[in-house]
């Protein structure tokens, strides 16, 4: 039913996706890490989250270019303020969705 070729592709994709997820967890969680490295790892979430979200908000297209007039960015500003004020994840997600829905209606 399923082509062998397709299965090999999936297995290859699965392997190269799983190993980078697995290696650091298994090895780093056993090591006594130097202090600077723990500090580095502690800063990684803030860095990654910012590196993930900012390009989504202000770039678009293929090849990518800057676009500061996207509803994604417009909605992000009040969503950001709401999150800072309330520090509520549930509230922020709901407010963000609602504002994005509104933006889709009226922009």
């Amino acid at each position: 039913m399923i082509h062998a070729d397709y299965l090999y592709i999936l297995l290859g994709m699965g392997l190269v996706t799983y190993v980078p997820r697995w290696l650091p967890l298994v090895f780093l969680s056993r090591l006594q890490l130097p202090e600077w490295f723990e500090q580095w790892l502690d800063l990684i979430p803030a860095a990654i989250l910012s590196a993930l979200i900012l390009p989504i908000l202000i770039t678009t297209g293929e090849p990518r270019h800057l676009d500061l007039m996207r509803p994604e960015l417009l909605v992000a500003l009040p969503t950001f303020l709401f999150a800072v004020k309330t520090r509520s994840l549930a509230g922020t997600v709901i407010v963000g969705m609602f504002l994005f829905w509104l933006a889709g209606k009226f922009l």
Binding site: G12, R21, S29, S88, L89
Partner: protein
């Protein structure tokens, strides 16, 4: 679970029981996963529809979601498949697109000490941008442990698989743009980023990472800009910290 023993202190017993009882763990993990599940529902359906149009059956779609479980690389793989690309280019592209998870697993390893390889292997399967972001915040916030994180990971994984398969039956089910569901993950990332800004140093690192990421994303194709920007920003952060530029408020790590 057993092992609670005859603790006489009532509050102690409650919190201990809450910590290890499987119902509590299941509930915390599943409920905690909801923002990701919303987002995966929308993206998963969209992926299923596209994959079906590219000629994949629901079974083939579900198998990809199960074996690979990484959204953006799945989208890319489908477009490469329909362009007739071979196994090597697809696998190499998948590797580069998903390499960023290595950073995420490294960062999560701080919270995963003293677990066996089996548990770590089960957990590793579910490390995505979204589960990493949410688990990091929850570990920091307390009342969170590897069991709850594992439940959260696999709840989101099941949602992803089910949504992509449902989309593969040709149904968009949710009209495009409905309820603003497409924005669920962006809003979640915005809030989780704020949770991570626990001092001036974190703010500086986030700003550097964001600016670098935007700049690099305009210059280089693909998404390696995420890893490069994060590594440079975090490294600069350590340098700043060690040179005592931000020593006043960052006592704890």
């Amino acid at each position: 679970m057993a092992g609670i023993s005859g603790v006489s202190d009532r509050t102690g017993m409650d919190s201990e029981a809450h910590k290890t009882h499987w119902m509590g763990i299941l509930k915390d993990g599943v409920i905690g996963a909801w923002p990701i599940c919303l987002g995966y529902l929308a993206i998963g359906l969209a992926f299923g529809v596209i994959a079906q149009k590219a000629g994949l059956t629901p079974v083939e779609i579900g198998l990809m979601s199960l074996l690979v479980y990484a959204g953006s690389s799945q989208f890319i793989a489908v477009s490469m498949l329909s362009a007739g690309a071979g196994i090597i280019p697809i696998v190499i592209t998948t590797f580069t697109v998903n390499l960023r998870h290595m950073l995420m697993s490294s960062s999560l390893s701080i919270f995963m000490r003293n677990l066996g390889t089996g548990r770590l292997s089960l957990f590793a399967y579910g490390v995505t941008d979204e589960s990493f972001a949410l688990n990091s915040a929850k570990f920091r916030g307390g009342n969170w442990d590897w069991r709850r994180a594992l439940v959260l990971n696999h709840t989101t994984n099941l949602t992803w698989i089910a949504s992509t398969v449902a989309g593969g039956f040709g149904g968009q089910f949710i009209p495009a743009g409905a309820f603003g569901i497409d924005y669920a993950l962006s809003a979640m990332f915005i809030c989780l980023l704020i949770f991570q800004l626990r001092g001036r140093l974190y703010v500086v690192v986030a700003i550097i990472a964001g600016i670098l990421a935007v700049g690099l994303s305009l210059l280089i194709p693909g998404n390696t800009y995420i890893v490069i920007a994060s590594v440079i920003a975090a490294t600069l952060g350590v340098v700043f910290k060690r040179s005592r530029l931000f020593s006043r408020e960052e006592g704890q790590s």
